[in-house]
């Protein structure tokens, strides 16, 4: 009987998840070959959100590129601003004032928290528990209010400038951030309490989508997904920037590299970000928010009106843009998803010759197919949420 069944010609079912599917956040697409509910083979596809970010940059001045970076990882927009500006600043060898560095650390960590809230929140929603999502999003809303007060926009922030910031933080910023952090920790405790010992949640996530440390490294994983596999790599620790080495915090590391570890690593990173922000707020001293390097900073307004050199300088920076010296640079920051790198080639003019963005979720998404093959459809959804693939960053 079994021999007869084996001889029957059976066509595999091909299921097309996405690009418009409730769990394919953004516009991802996954072709699955199914055997019952088990995914035999999966082909992920991307590119539905391709906007030509890199090509756009080649036709814009460096400052004009900053708003484009908002749209990379739109869940934590400010980190992209910081990443791009840091690359250009390194290319021009600009030293940032201390206040700028501290504020950049604060906004980066706030955005890391927001990103992790979205990622873990939606991951848990995909597993079926909607309530946690609301606990998170209520807090996220408060954080977005802070961001809105800071730069006037909630999502398309464009807060940094080459050599500094768009504007200083407002009065009462510190107190609001501290209040928000406290609320965030409460929400984190709520969610941990709801799912931490929940048998269904543990069954759905433990040993689902396991990726070993070697395999993760060979794929080029960075960020929480790599740390969940047990590799304590963090750009902030290994090649510190913005004085990260002088903050007291720990790298959250997982063990098994499964979906559960990825969620828990993000939980822990949110706690560590809170520690960094507390220390950074204590370090926040009055000072300039723009470098005094004349190649990047606009001259003060009164000088523009009274001094011909200042007027010309202003004119040149506005019309031709900031002009880094000829050369190339690769500069990486630890964004919420991992190492966000910008490779910039400058030919000495005001527009970059070439900009290459290294989005952290691109290598991670490459491993997605191999992680969900052999699992069920539900697993594929649970894994994708934990990887936090953001289409804006993936497709650029």
């Amino acid at each position: 009987m079994t021999a007869e069944i084996d001889q029957l010609k059976a066509k595999p079912t091909v299921l097309n998840l996405g690009p418009s599917h409730p769990a394919m956040h953004g516009t991802l697409r996954l072709y699955c070959e199914l055997d019952g509910e088990i995914i035999v083979k999966a082909i992920p596809e991307f590119g539905y959100l391709h906007r030509g970010f890199e090509k756009h940059c080649e036709n814009s001045t460096y400052t004009q590129c900053i708003p484009y970076t908002d749209r990379l990882n739109y869940v934590s927009a400010m980190m992209n601003n910081v990443g791009f500006c840091k690359a250009v600043e390194e290319l021009m060898d600009i030293e940032l004032p201390e206040r700028v560095q501290v504020i950049r650390v604060i906004i980066c960590e706030i955005n890391r928290i927001i990103d992790h809230l979205v990622c873990t929140g939606t991951n848990i929603v995909d597993i079926g528990a909607l309530t946690n999502f609301w606990y998170y999003f209520n807090v996220r809303e408060k954080f977005y209010n802070i961001i809105e007060k800071l730069c006037g926009a909630r999502l398309t922030t464009a807060y940094t400038r080459i050599g500094g910031l768009m504007r200083d933080v407002y009065d009462g910023f510190e107190a609001e951030v501290r209040a928000c952090l406290k609320e965030m920790l409460d929400a984190l405790d709520d969610v941990s309490g709801l799912i931490g010992k929940n048998r269904i949640f543990l069954n759905r996530t433990i040993d689902v989508g396991v990726i070993s440390a070697e395999k993760a490294l060979s794929f080029g994983f960075t960020g929480p997904c790599l740390r969940a596999s047990g590799v304590p790599f963090d750009v902030r620790k290994d090649t510190p920037y913005y004085d990260y080495e002088n903050y007291d915090w720990d790298v959250a590391v997982g063990e098994h590299g499964d979906t559960y570890d990825r969620v828990v690593v993000r939980f822990e990173e949110m706690r560590q970000s809170t520690r960094i922000i507390e220390q950074a707020l204590a370090k926040l001293k009055p000072g300039p928010i723009m470098t005094d390097d004349k190649r990047a900073a606009l001259p003060p307004k009164e000088e523009v009106y009274t001094n011909i050199e200042a007027l010309m300088n202003h004119f040149k920076i506005i019309y031709e843009g900031v002009r880094p010296p000829e050369g190339e640079i690769y500069s990486a920051t630890e964004a919420a998803n991992g190492e966000l790198g910008f490779f910039i080639v400058s030919d000495g003019t005001g527009t970059p010759y070439r900009v290459k963005c290294r989005p952290p979720c691109f290598p991670i998404y490459q491993a997605y197919a191999s992680m969900c093959e052999g699992g069920m459809i539900s697993d594929a959804i649970a894994i994708l949420g934990g990887l936090n693939v953001v289409a804006g960053e993936l497709d650029r």
Binding site: T13, L15, N16, H21, P22, A23, E37, I124, V125, D126, I127, G128, A129, L130, T131, W134, Y135, N138, L194, I195, N198, I200, F201, N203, R204, M376, I377, S378, D379, I381
Partner: protein
């Protein structure tokens, strides 16, 4: 004849009235569980009823939506599925008794539409047909998500039906009958003789299996939003979708009614037997109306005097007055009338009717309590995976149900 028609249409009407309330309860309950306010916008002449009007708005919306037929669908199966789902859900309520039988001059009249001597078997038989609705919807839509949803649902419902039936057998052995009326009568009015106390394991198994039977979280794999878009009803729109939507809530009500009937004493009022209620019907009527009057004065006063944050000139501003002042008037009128008149002496039929109404209200309260449990669980727990669900059903719940059955059988034999 009239009595039979009444017995058919009154429970049906009651369920149909509970459905929108349940939908409201689900939305509002979910909202408060999730730290938000929930529906509060739709209004008729300023009356929002705390968001209850949204259910009405939904009905109107769904009626006027375009009814879309997928081109490749199997039209007959596609169209038939929602009707099966809905009608099967409604039919089950026929055998559930909602109050003690009345003693009339012409004989006893049981207060259930169908006084079957095989009540519980009828329910299981009909409930199994419910699978067809979902299966046909999954197959007829010609959509892979629907098909997967239908497959999941049918496998799940067939598996959990075993546990569902086996967990009840203990109750049936205790009562010595499969007739729902005698199961309720057997439990008596004392809380500690209810089957909840006598069959705790059976109760838990029944509740879990009922969750699976109704396709509610954590067993809502058939319509798992994140995985299968909307599962078996992905392709349905307009009233056909509304039928599925309503069938889900009707199923919830039926499951709650069964839980109440089998394990929580059905229509039994705690610590007050039918005879006691009938003997004291006059007093119950008198004090019941007084209490109701007091209640409406309190609620009406609260509504009428409440300050509102709604903008000036908005009709919703007067909601409190529109609802509160009539409630106040009714409450004061009732109390005045009762005080001037004093307790009336009710006849045999009157006292029986009073007792029946009280029992029906208590039964309804029990149903709503279980419905709330359904909602509460839905917004707390994540969802199972298909294989884990099957493992739970076959490897955990079925053996437990069998153990429960054996233990009960031995106990019944010895005692």
């Amino acid at each position: 004849m009239t009595a039979t028609l009444l017995k058919i249409f009154v429970p049906f009407g009651v369920i149909m009235q509970i459905v929108p309330v349940l939908i409201w309860l689900e939305r509002k309950g979910a909202a408060y569980i999730q730290d938000r306010r929930g529906p509060n916008r739709a209004s008729i002449a300023g009356v929002r009823l705390g968001g209850l009007i949204h259910s009405l708005a939904d009905v109107v919306k769904l009626i006027f939506k375009e009814d879309i037929w997928p081109t490749q669908a199997n039209r007959l199966i596609y169209a038939l599925a929602p009707f099966i789902a809905m009608s099967v859900a409604c039919v089950t309520f026929a055998v559930i008794p909602w109050a003690a039988p009345l003693n009339l001059s012409s004989g006893t009249m049981s207060l259930q539409a169908l006084d079957f001597n095989t009540g519980i078997l009828f329910i299981f038989a009909i409930a199994s047909i419910g699978v067809y609705g979902i299966m046909m919807a999954g197959w007829g839509s010609n959509n892979k998500f629907s098909l997967l949803g239908g497959l999941r649902a049918s496998a799940q419902m067939v598996s959990y039906e075993l546990t569902l039936s086996l967990s009840v057998v203990g109750v049936l052995m205790l009562a010595g009958s499969v007739e729902l009326g005698s199961i309720v009568a057997d439990q008596g009015s004392e809380v500690w003789t209810w089957n909840l106390v006598r069959q705790p394991l059976g109760f838990i198994l029944f509740v879990v299996a009922a969750f699976a039977e109704t396709n509610r979280t954590p067993f809502d794999l058939a319509e798992a939003e994140a995985e299968l878009v909307a599962g078996y009803h992905t392709e349905y729109s307009s009233l056909k979708f509304a039928l599925f939507f309503m069938a889900e809530y009707v199923n919830m009500i039926i499951a709650s009614a069964l839980m109440a009937t089998l394990f929580l004493g059905g229509w039994q009022v705690p610590f007050a037997g039918t005879e006691f209620l009938r003997d004291h019907a006059s007093n119950i009527f008198y004090y019941g109306l007084l209490a109701f009057g007091l209640f409406s004065i309190l609620v009406g006063g609260f509504l009428a005097l409440r300050r509102t944050k709604v903008p000036w000139k908005d009709a919703r501003r007067f909601e409190g007055k529109i609802l509160g002042i009539p409630a106040l008037v009714v409450g004061i009128g009732l109390i005045f009338w009762q005080f001037t008149q004093g307790p009336v002496v009710l006849g045999t039929l009157g006292s029986q009717a009073t007792a029946a109404i009280l029992q029906f209200s208590v039964f309804l309260g029990k149903i709503l309590f279980f419905c709330w449990v359904f909602i509460w669980v839905r917004w707390t727990l994540p969802r199972f995976r298909y294989d884990q669900l099957m493992a739970l059903g076959w490897k955990v719940m079925l053996p437990l149900a069998l153990i429960n059955l054996v233990v009960t059988a031995v106990a019944v034999l010895i005692l």
